[in-house]
């Protein structure tokens, strides 16, 4: 049942994704990419959980994963903000 539940969540999320992303105008496609890049940094949640395996190889893999995912989150959100700041009206 668990499997069916998460599969449901996954499929519905894809539909929501298609709905909202098709409404993003071409002007904002680059910020959309860098912003969604930042969101894929959600792997940080998994990375944090992974570090809890004490003293095992998993801890170290988790640490590297935390670094990678943080680069994504911090860099992604910051550069997106930097770009969006430049979009001005007349």
């Amino acid at each position: 049942m668990d499997m069916i539940n998460i599969l449901t969540v996954f499929i519905l999320a894809i539909f929501i994704g298609f709905e909202i992303i098709t409404k993003v105008p071409p002007t904002l496609h680059t910020p959309l990419m860098s912003g969604s890049n930042a969101i894929s940094g959600i792997a940080i949640v998994g990375a944090i959980i992974a570090t809890k395996v004490d003293g095992e190889i998993g801890t170290w893999l988790g640490l590297i994963a935390v670094i990678f995912a943080t680069i994504n989150c911090v860099g992604g959100f910051m550069v997106t903000d930097r770009m969006l700041k430049m979009f001005k009206r007349k």
Partner: protein
């Protein structure tokens, strides 16, 4: 645990709202902030709800990552955005694969190691590793560390097919039979890493927008599959959103070039030497100066500027905006026509122009601008070539036949600035240059625009 899952739901809602606000430049910045708050909530909820976490270790990781990420974000030039997104895709995919690997090592040989778990771990490592190596190759190509030319060797497709079959076979075997030997697991990682490289090296520089979009999608799917491994809704939902986003952009880029995804990935376009130059018609080109161009513009009411990547290479966006402002002060209507593949990634040209303080209301995409050329007095083409080639509309023998183009030739006059008569990416001559209503102004875009600005002021 309950409140953690609740926090994940909240984070997912904030991500969705954040992307929704990207539907207009007015609300986009707020949207990005909302998404980042969602991320913060997800991180805090995770940190406070799992026991045995080594906070010191996590803090070190976050600090190192934050410094690297912030440095990238602050120092990157807007022309380098494609590289940055490419390498970030790689980090995202890498993080997902690492998490899955960590889970594998911790559950290996225990009763918790179910078939579903092993299967999703293999899937997540496969997608994540492929994204990591593929993205690094894409980064190298865009940054110029590796040749932007397609790198092909005989038997490449056979090798790729062999790796895919081997991965599926091995993955299935490991999933069903359980992992007898760790070596099997390492071979999966190695094969996925090689596949990421061999799939990306044959793709040429001009096709990189498609590749980055596709890898963007993969990085999302990698996060989602890691979500299946951990049974974590936050990862599944976010991964699905990013996966969908990447796919939509990939599709838009392919349509912009009138190519199928398969053709981009396996076509190695840019390598084959186009041999149809023999039948090239002699073009009757009228070359002109900037003061003549200024006089033509003086008589115009409506002007459309068509920027190509040549404009960005010449760093002439500011000069273009100054010319546009001068024209507006003379009472003319000025618009910009942005082709979907004008830049090096989706929406790239818009960012480059926004950086030069061009108001976003003036930036029009293909569907919006094409009807506008009908009553346009002057179209100024700056460093664009294939995207304004009328052959795409009628010449079935042309390699770009069927590609959606900007109908600049329908304007009363077309002023084209190019450095030389060299053909564009597709390696073909552009008949537009020989049209009766076309005027060529040769030279560097920045110098030409500066001179044009001066001539306009002196009218």
């Amino acid at each position: 645990m309950e409140y953690t899952n609740l926090a994940y739901v909240l984070a997912s809602v904030l991500f969705i709202l954040g992307i929704k606000k990207l539907s207009s430049p007015k609300t986009a910045r707020t949207g990005n902030t909302i998404s980042s708050i969602g991320m913060l909530i997800a991180i805090i909820a995770t940190m406070t709800s799992f026991e045995l976490l080594d906070f010191k270790l996590i803090a070190i990781g976050i600090i190192i990552g934050a410094i690297i990420g912030a440095t990238f974000a602050i120092r990157i030039e807007m022309t380098q955005m494609p590289q940055m997104v490419a390498i970030f895709n790689g980090f995202g995919g890498g993080a997902s694969a690492l998490v899955a690997a960590a889970e594998f090592f911790s559950k290996y040989g225990t009763s918790e190691q179910t078939m579903f778990l092993t299967g999703t771990i293999i899937l997540s490592i496969f997608i994540g590793t492929l994204t990591l190596t593929g993205s690094f190759i894409a980064f190298g190509k865009l940054q110029g560390f590796i040749s932007g030319q397609p790198i092909v060797f005989s038997g490449q497709q056979v090798l790729n097919a062999f790796i895919v079959v081997a991965l599926i076979g091995l993955g299935t075997y490991v999933t069903i039979g359980g992992v007898e030997e760790m070596n099997m697991f390492y071979i999966v990682i190695l094969l996925a890493a090689i596949l990421g490289i061999t799939l990306t090296i044959p793709i040429g520089g001009a096709d990189m927008p498609v590749v980055i979009s596709l890898l963007n999608s993969y990085s999302g799917l990698a996060a989602a599959s890691t979500g299946f491994v951990l049974m974590n809704n936050a990862l599944i939902i976010s991964g699905a959103l990013v996966g969908a986003s990447g796919l939509i952009l990939t599709n838009i880029m392919c349509k912009g070039m009138n190519r199928s995804l398969a053709n981009v990935i396996f076509g190695a376009v840019g390598l084959q030497i186009k041999s149809n130059s023999g039948e090239a018609k002699q073009l009757n080109i009228k070359s002109s100066s900037t003061d003549e161009a200024a006089m033509i513009l003086d008589a115009a009411d409506k002007v459309i500027i068509v920027p190509g990547y040549g404009l960005a290479v010449a760093q002439a966006q500011h000069a273009a905006r100054e010319v546009a402002e001068q024209l507006e002060s003379m009472g003319k209507k000025v618009l910009y026509a942005i082709h979907p593949v004008a830049g090096r990634m989706p929406g790239h040209m818009n960012v480059l122009l926004a950086e030069a303080n061009v108001p976003y209301e003036q930036l029009k995409d293909l569907d919006q601008i094409n009807p506008e050329f009908e009553d346009c007095d002057v179209a100024i083409v700056l460093g664009a070539n294939d995207v304004v080639n009328p052959a795409a509309r009628h010449d079935k023998s042309s390699p770009i036949y069927g590609m959606p183009i900007l109908d600049v030739d329908k304007s009363r006059t077309v002023i084209i600035n190019k450095r030389t008569m060299n053909p564009g990416f597709a390696g073909i001559q552009n008949e537009l240059f020989g049209f009766d209503n076309s005027i060529m102004v040769f030279g560097d875009a920045k110098e030409m625009l500066t001179a044009l600005h001066k001539d306009l002021k002196e009218l």
